[in-house]
Amino acid sequence: MRKQRRITRYLAIGMVAAAAIGLTGCTAGGSGTTTPDKEGNATLTFLVSESPNLTPEYWDAAIARASKVVPGVTIKKVVGENTPAYAQQLFASGQAPDIFAAGIANGLAQKGELAEYTRAEMEAAGITDFTSGTINGKFYGIPAGAQAIPLVYYNKDLFAKAGIDGPPATYSELLDDATKLKAAGIAPFEIGGGGEDTWATTFTLNAVVAADMLTADKDWFLKREKGEVKFTDPEFVAAAAKVAAITKAGFGDKDGMTRTYADMEQSFFDGKAAMYPMGSWFTAAADAKKLTNIGAFGWPSDAGKPAFPVVSGAGMNVNAKSKNVELAKKWSLAFATDKENMDAGVITDGAISTVKGYQIPENVGTLYKEMVAAYDAAVAEDATVPAWGNTTGDGALPPGFNDKMVAANVDLMTGKTSPEDFAKYLDEQYAAAQK
């Protein structure tokens, strides 16, 4: 009995100790909310996502620079997914941070969850591009830079090996090249993405729709929003049919559909496929490896119009319920327009900066320079189209719709569903998501 009592006592002591550890742990962890004090100092939470390009080190350094400009702010970095669905989950569960790095405004802004930036505020910070990214005409993110999503990156060595001189100018040339590559035993396209990274499978659809439909009518998705056009309209079904035909012809990387996003990038670097439709952030990864055998082109339409789909970054969304909205906006603007941050954005994320007076740093890679030159040319010719899959403002896909489209697109690519049924499914899901 004596021994048993001793054991009981040890257990009790152990529990007290454990509880003490727990308490300190909880204090150290803190809660997710803002805690301003009377001098206006505040701790703000900032949601970022990490990737092979955007490493933890990148974010820490970038945050530190912006905080130097805006005194009185302590930024707490939190790491999560960079999608509207995830942001929505955070709002739904009461865990929304003060600032979101990626553009997640659509759906949340309409519901009043996000704080609005005034044009004056942004002009004062040097923002010049007000062409897109608005929601009902208002700004909820900072359009400091743009991304081209997607362009087609190609491996010049593999093209040469298959006897192809340069990038294709028309869609039929693209198919010819793909046939030549396949005949030479080279997988023409790195397309895929499985599990959590299934989203990466949609870049082909993004490209085809941009080339075939948006080069003819930039406002197609604005019209879709108003119900003036439908996915079952012939132009969209035809675009979907092209996507299905590419995989049916065996032009994809046959191991691609279960790759992670990071694995796909690696496979393309390893020369497992010749072409890789991807966002312009890819230039950063290629340049970081000092690769010189990679070029870029816009997905060509039948008539030979290349697609240059662009989305103005509309990130740095501020939670309307943040306890210090003004400070959060101020810090966000400082973050978005800090010279070094923009340099870092260029070098690590391939961002195309549109901030007034910004000069590209000398040490950027060749692929990035090539891509920006193409962007400038496209802008000069007014040839850019909205990157419809990634638009976060007006004309954006309704919240929750993208997940459905991504899943259905896999069925389209594997031939499980026909282009007609795919289009019909999208119309149904679009209606359900519009609410």
């Binding site: 929505q88 599990g195 299934t198 559909m257 279960t258 069925d411 499914y425 609410k435």
Partner: protein, 313 residues
């Protein structure tokens, strides 16, 4: 889920005298305040109350992307059973559950019999089967993903024989069975452990006696081992079945519900997906409620069965 509570819920036979005596000491308000209340409060607030809230929410059209919520009675439930996507999810879960019951129980029993021998080698092998039991299903899912992806190890082994090895996780017709395999693999360990415990509690004298009477291994199994093991088999069947209906982790990690639309989506995965990513909170709650009813029904039915067994024994 078990008969333990059924037994306990029967009033304990006791003399009136002892009852009165106990009331004085054990039934003090202190006993209630210190022993029952803290746990009960936690349980009611953090387990039962959310369940009530879920039922309430399932009767509304609550949506994360729309500020206004109104009461819609059973509209969500009506919608549910005419929603082909939901019927697919239900079908997936059934297929998964059937496999997750049959395969691990059959394999587990076979392996347990195989390993039910003395000696250090058999002891060591038995220990091996403990390992997956304590592994996180996330670890299990990730490892198997490496094996099953298109250029994974399984296909690397198959490539000498075929140019087009199966897309274990990328073929919409196959992925569900691949997920089931992983679930089954992890349950096999548990089945082996439990069946071994059952086998080792069978008196060896019985087997020896049967052997002396000239019974071969097959007859020994049928006439001695199987009847004595049957309660364990019932229990494992019930547990793997309920486990099957709750599958989430493996799907989330390995396929995210795909490839394609809902090919591997399960009840639990669908509930979370509908509520969090699509924001249809009310509809998701209705799905959750249906899932709860299915599992509660299964649990209660199996408790009945087990109780009956106990009476039979």
């Amino acid at each position: 889920m078990s008969t333990t509570q059924i037994k306990s819920s029967k009033p304990l036979p006791q003399g009136r005298a002892s009852l009165r005596k106990r009331r004085k000491s054990l039934h003090s308000p202190l006993h209630f305040l210190l022993f029952a209340l803290p746990g009960a409060i936690l349980y009611f607030v953090f387990v039962l109350w959310p369940l009530v809230l879920a039922f309430w929410s399932s009767l509304t059209n609550e949506d994360a992307y729309r500020p206004k919520t109104s009461f819609v009675w059973f509209e969500n439930y009506a919608k549910l059973f005419s929603d082909p996507a939901y019927l697919q999810v239900l079908g997936n879960t059934l297929v998964l559950t059937i496999i997750a019951v049959i395969v691990p129980n059959a394999l587990g029993l076979g392996i347990a019999i195989l390993l039910d021998r003395s000696g250090w080698a058999f002891n060591a092998m038995r220990a091996v089967f403990f390992v997956p039991v304590i592994l996180s299903s996330v670890v299990v899912a990730v490892v198997w993903q490496q094996l099953m992806k298109d250029d994974g190890l399984i296909n690397a082994a198959l490539r000498p024989f075929t140019d087009n090895p199966p897309g274990w996780l990328s073929d919409p017709n196959l992925a569900l069975y691949s997920v089931a395999t992983i679930v089954a693999w992890q349950s096999v360990g548990m089945c082996v452990v439990l069946y071994l415990a059952g086998l080792q509690s069978i008196p060896k004298e019985l087997l020896e006696a049967a052997s002396i009477d000239g019974a071969g291994p097959v007859r020994r199994f049928r006439n001695v081992t199987w009847p004595l093991l049957a309660p364990s088999v019932t229990i494992m069947t019930v547990l793997t079945m309920i486990g099957g209906f709750k599958i989430y982790d493996q799907v989330k990690v390995m396929t995210n519900g795909g490839p394609g639309v809902g090919t591997t989506s399960t009840l639990a995965f669908d509930v979370i997906q509908t509520g969090l990513s699509s924001g249809a909170v009310g509809y998701s709650a209705a799905k959750a409620a249906v899932m709860f009813f299915i599992i509660a029904l299964l649990s209660m039915a199996s408790m009945k069965i087990m109780k009956k067994r106990e009476v039979d024994l």
